[in-house]
């Protein structure tokens, strides 16, 4: 049996009291507990408040997963997603970080960032993988706290993460504002257009826009915006050109701006700018001198007429002071008392064009308008163009309109009182004209016209009338022949010569009071006539001799002579009918044309005439008059001689008698024979080729004349001719002067002739000689009368001498 071990006193190895009995290992669970509690407390303490955000829909929002981000840093997480009462909206409960919680105040905005694919690119791509997140935006100031928010559908334009200059853009009536469109400056996107909204009066669209910093300094009061959306195609000399800013703006629109005038200060937030249609108009709007912000007023027109369009002029006393910015209809039963549609036009008035005394500004313009309206100032519609029917708005002063005090200047856009328009209704006028045309008795007119035409037809078809042209042609050729004759052509020349003499004579008469002398001469002539009177007593004997002579003449073989003359005439006729002769008139005509041209040239060089005139006048005064005086003296002497001669008329008559007797004894037969032979000779002469060639020569001569005239006209001869004609002119003037005295002279001559007539009446009227003498005297009388009339004519129209008319 094993020995039982001795009982051993067992002593605790370290049986310490108190703390010694407790193991230090307990510190570890205590520490763990402390850490756990600490962590628990800290996590509880760090928990921020829960906010609720209402969204229209909860696409992509997940519980415990969707983050709330601020500046792309997660500051919270969605803890729960639920519906609001009535299932209208989705409410996301978001626990936000405690640190940012105070800043999440009433002004905070929240929106869901989703992947977005647009023309400008892809945004929010990160959310494709990670899921959507909620983005929050709030400022750095602690404001009024709230825990309930309403989420936005889209990202707001202004957010603290992208600071920028906030401006407002206003589209023109026909412009467009695309939401979220980029704003470019020299092709770089520097801003963005926000959500566009319609202005309270639905006149135009307005949108907020942001110019991101640091580009905000680019915007000054002179900055102009324009629409760059779409593209423009221009075809010019340099070819076709398609212009668009970028593909993005081509699709979704864009706005560009530029500051055309440097030196402006940066504008403050909230400045309003107008979007111009294109760059050009934007540029123009800057350079429109001192244009300031326009004053907008409304005008409601009762006239329901079409034609007032956007951009139509607004005129004050014919001066354009603005334009129509928008046109729309308005139904305001409260204001007008009926449901009729009225035309409301928004007028943009440029204050700088009103000529204000003060600084042009919209308020100053408004005050000006208000003052004028109290005086009866009204707007009305007026026709701008009759053709197109376009209208304009016209301001005018009306007397009848009572002062209108309802011009409310406090509203956003004041309303101008209007008056009835002055519209020319072109359509109505044209309609009236057409009606009048319609009412014209066209049928009756047509009947009368037809009657007239048939009568005319009958008249024209009359045979006599049809023969008339032939006769007229014959008559005309006769006249042509007459006019073409040398005699007729020579008449002016002769007349000219005669008149020159008369001129000289009359000038002398005028100068030396020769009329008296002439009177004496005429007295002498009268005496002579008396002498004639007495001498005529011896005439019967003479007459009997003459009678005998005549008898003898009667017995002469006149038939033969006449036949000869007839032949001569025939030859002449033939000659005239020859082609050369026929061609003469044409040459003549040409020559006359030349003459005419020459004369024209002469007339144009009228200045020379005066000199020549003076020269000739001096000549006249120096020599011609002296000579004339001598001539007239001599004429007087001659007249006296006549007088004395007439005294010797009885003797003369006796001599006549003797002559007659002698003539009776003369071999008249032989004379006639001679004459006949002469005629025959003439005939032969005319019949000769040489004579026949005469017209051709004449024609040649005329051509030469023509050439000479040309030379004259072209050469310096014209000046000489000028002078010559000037002298003729002065001569004519002298004639005119002389003609003053002519009537008296004529009277005297008339008296003389009357006396002579009376003297001759004394003769036996039945006597042949007496009759002849009577005829002769009558011829003289006629010649005198003709001279008198000529003188009268010349007196009336001295220049006719030169002009030949």
């Amino acid at each position: 049996m094993a020995k039982t071990p001795t009982e051993v006193k067992i002593e605790p190895a370290s049986a310490g009291r108190g703390l010694g009995r407790i193991s230090f290992v307990w510190l570890i669970p205590l520490a763990a507990l402390a850490i756990a509690l600490g962590v628990a407390w800290q996590s509880y303490n760090d928990r921020g408040p829960v906010i609720t955000i209402e969204f229209e829909n909860g696409a992509g929002i997940k519980k415990d997963e969707t983050a709330l981000k601020y500046r792309d840093i997660t500051v919270g997480v969605v803890e729960d997603v639920s519906f609001s009462e009535g299932l209208d909206t989705v409410i996301a409960e978001v626990r936000i970080d405690k640190k940012v919680a105070p800043y999440v105040d009433r002004s905070s905005t929240f929106w869901v960032v989703r992947p977005e694919l647009s023309a400008r690119g892809v945004s929010g791509l990160d959310t494709v993988l990670s899921g959507v997140f909620i983005e929050g935006a709030w400022d750095n100031k602690i404001g009024e706290a709230t825990t309930e928010f309403r989420g936005l559908e889209d990202a707001p334009l202004f957010r603290p993460s992208r600071p920028g200059l906030e401006i407002a853009l206003r589209a023109t009536a026909n412009g467009q504002l695309t939401e979220n469109a980029p704003i470019f400056f020299r092709g770089i996107e520097v801003g963005r257009v926000g959500k566009a909204r319609i202005s309270p009066r639905t006149n135009f669209a307005i949108a907020e826009a942001i110019i991101y910093e640091p580009h905000g300094r680019l915007i000054t009061p002179t900055t102009r915006f324009w629409d760059t959306s779409g593209f423009s195609v221009s075809i010019g000399a340099s070819g076709a050109e398609i212009d668009f800013t970028s593909l993005a703006t081509l699709i979704s629109g864009g706005i560009s701006f530029d500051t055309f005038v440097s030196g402006g200060e940066r504008v403050a937030d909230g400045e309003l700018f107008v979007i111009n249609v294109d760059e050009e108009s934007a540029r123009n709007s800057v350079f429109n001198a001192s244009e300031v912000e326009t004053l907008l007023v409304n005008a409601i027109f009762d006239d329901n007429v079409s034609g007032l369009s956007v951009g139509a002029a607004v005129e004050l006393s014919g001066l354009k002071i603005g334009e129509v910015q928008s046109v729309s209809g308005i139904i305001d039963r409260a204001q007008f008392g009926d449901g009729r549609v009225r035309l409301i036009a928004t007028l943009a008035i440029q204050p700088s064009r009103l000529g204000l005394e003060t600084e042009p500004s919209p308020s100053a313009a408004l005050n000006f308008l208000a003052g004028r309206i109290r005086e009866g100032f009204r707007a009305r519609l007026a026709s701008a163009s009759l053709l197109t029917g376009g209208l304009k708005v016209e301001f005018l002063q009306t007397d009848v309109a009572p002062p209108d005090s309802i011009f409310d200047m406090t509203v956003d856009i004041p309303q101008l009182p209007t008056t009835k328009g002055q519209i020319t209704d072109t359509t109505g006028t044209v309609e009236g004209v057409i009606t009048r045309i319609n009412n014209l008795p066209i049928e009756e007119l047509m009947t009368s016209a037809i009657d007239l035409m048939s009568s005319a037809t009958a008249f024209v078809s009359n045979e006599d009338l049809q023969g008339a042209p032939g006769e007229v042609v014959g008559l005309l050729s006769d006249v042509r022949g007459l006019v073409g004759s040398d005699e007729v052509k020579n008449v002016p020349v002769l007349l000219n010569a005669t008149l020159e003499r008369i001129e000289g004579l009359v000038a002398q008469l005028e100068q030396e009071q020769l009329v008296m002398r002439l009177g004496k001469a005429v007295d002498a002539a009268a005496n002579a006539a008396d002498g004639v009177d007495t001498a005529i007593i011896g005439l019967p004997a003479l007459l009997s001799s003459v009678t005998a002579l005549a008898d003898k003449a009667t017995a002469l073989p006149a038939e033969d002579m006449l036949a000869e003359i007839t032949r001569v005439a025939a030859s002449a006729d033939k000659l005239l009918k020859s082609e050369s002769t026929q061609a003469l008139p044409a040459d003549l005509s040409k020559a006359l044309g030349e003459v005419e041209a020459t004369l024209l040239a002469l007339r144009e060089n009228g200045g020379v005439l005066d000199n020549a005139n003076k020269l000739l006048t001096s000549i006249d005064e120096e020599q011609l008059v002296q000579r004339l005086r001598d001539v007239v003296d001599e004429a007087a002497i001659a007249a006296r001689g006549v007088n004395s001669a007439v005294e010797g008329v009885p003797e003369l008559l006796a001599s006549f008698q003797a002559v007659a007797d002698k003539a009776e004894a003369l071999p008249v037969d032989a004379l006639v024979q001679e004459l006949t032979e002469l005629a025959a000779t003439a005939d032969t002469v005319i019949g000769t080729d040489a004579f026949k060639a005469l017209p051709a020569d004449l024609s040649k001569a005329l051509i030469e004349v023509e050439a000479i005239l040309k030379a004259i006209r072209e050469g310096g001869v014209i000046e000489n001719a000028n002078r010559t004609l000037a002298s003729a002119s002065s001569a004519a003037d002298a004639v005119a002067l002389a003609a003053d005295d002519l009537p008296a002279l004529m009277n005297r001559m008339s008296a003389v002739l009357n006396q002579a007539s009376r003297t001759i009446q004394g003769f036996d009227k039945g006597d042949q000689l007496t009759r002849d003498v009577e005829n002769a005297l009558r011829d003289i009388q006629r010649a005198a009368k003709a001279l008198a009339s000529l003188a009268n004519t010349i007196e009336r129209n001295p220049s006719s001498l030169i002009r030949g008319r």
Partner: protein, 213 residues
């Protein structure tokens, strides 16, 4: 008592007045302060053993709570991030008809750690009072707990291996969640707790009982 009576009484070293060195197993008479051979302090019974057991046990259990609440794995694929707790992941695997794997995970991560907690607690309580289990069973239980404890780390190994292998950047990646740390700590503390248990105390109860008898 009846159970104790069935088992033949074993005379302990303490009853024989000796104490064994726990390091070099040299036996010394009781009262010897240090081992004359290896120099280790000699104690017949570690009086603070149970305190240490309970202390580690508590810390381990504290760590086990977040290990189950927080996600163990964070699986990030192209389109989503999936975070799974231990139990949640096992349930998900079961829904994907991977019941076997799910059971293994549940066994290794839930059953074994919890079993250890219960076993250690049972042993610690049993040394103070009588119970129905025999000394040998309890010794066996202690040995099993100590042996199996290290295998609980298999979860951590899986997480560590997957995290290091599946790192395809943006396409997919697996990262350990916060629970893995707590789980590892829990395993460590449980093992420490088990080691702190002085198994000789199991037999003291028997000897006390025998002494009473």
């Amino acid at each position: 008592m009846s159970v104790a009576q069935d088992i033949p009484h074993v005379t302990t070293a303490r009853e024989m007045g000796v104490v064994g060195c726990l390091r070099c197993t040299q036996v010394w008479p009781v009262g010897t302060e240090t081992c004359g051979r290896c120099g280790k302090a000699l104690v017949s019974r570690d009086r603070k053993s149970l305190q240490r057991v309970w202390a580690w046990w508590i810390v381990g259990f504290l760590c086990y709570i977040p290990a189950n609440m927080y996600p163990m794995l964070q699986t990030r694929t192209l389109f989503q991030v999936q975070q799974d707790t231990i139990v949640g992941g096992a349930i998900e695997l079961m829904t994907h008809d991977a019941v076997g794997i799910a059971l293994i995970i549940l066994f290794a991560s839930v059953v074994i750690p919890l079993g250890k907690f219960f076993a250690v607690a049972y042993l610690a309580i049993s040394v103070k009072r009588r119970n129905s289990a025999s000394f040998q069973q309890r010794q066996m239980l202690y040995e099993v707990v100590e042996y199996i404890g290290r295998w609980s780390m298999i979860d951590i190994f899986v997480v560590a291996i997957m995290s290091s292998l599946v790192q395809l950047n943006t396409l997919a990646s697996i990262n350990p969640g916060p629970a893995s740390l707590f789980f590892a700590l829990s395993v460590i503390f449980t093992m420490l707790s088990a080691q702190s248990f002085d198994s000789r105390m199991i037999w003291d109860v028997q000897s006390d009982a025998a002494g009473e008898d």
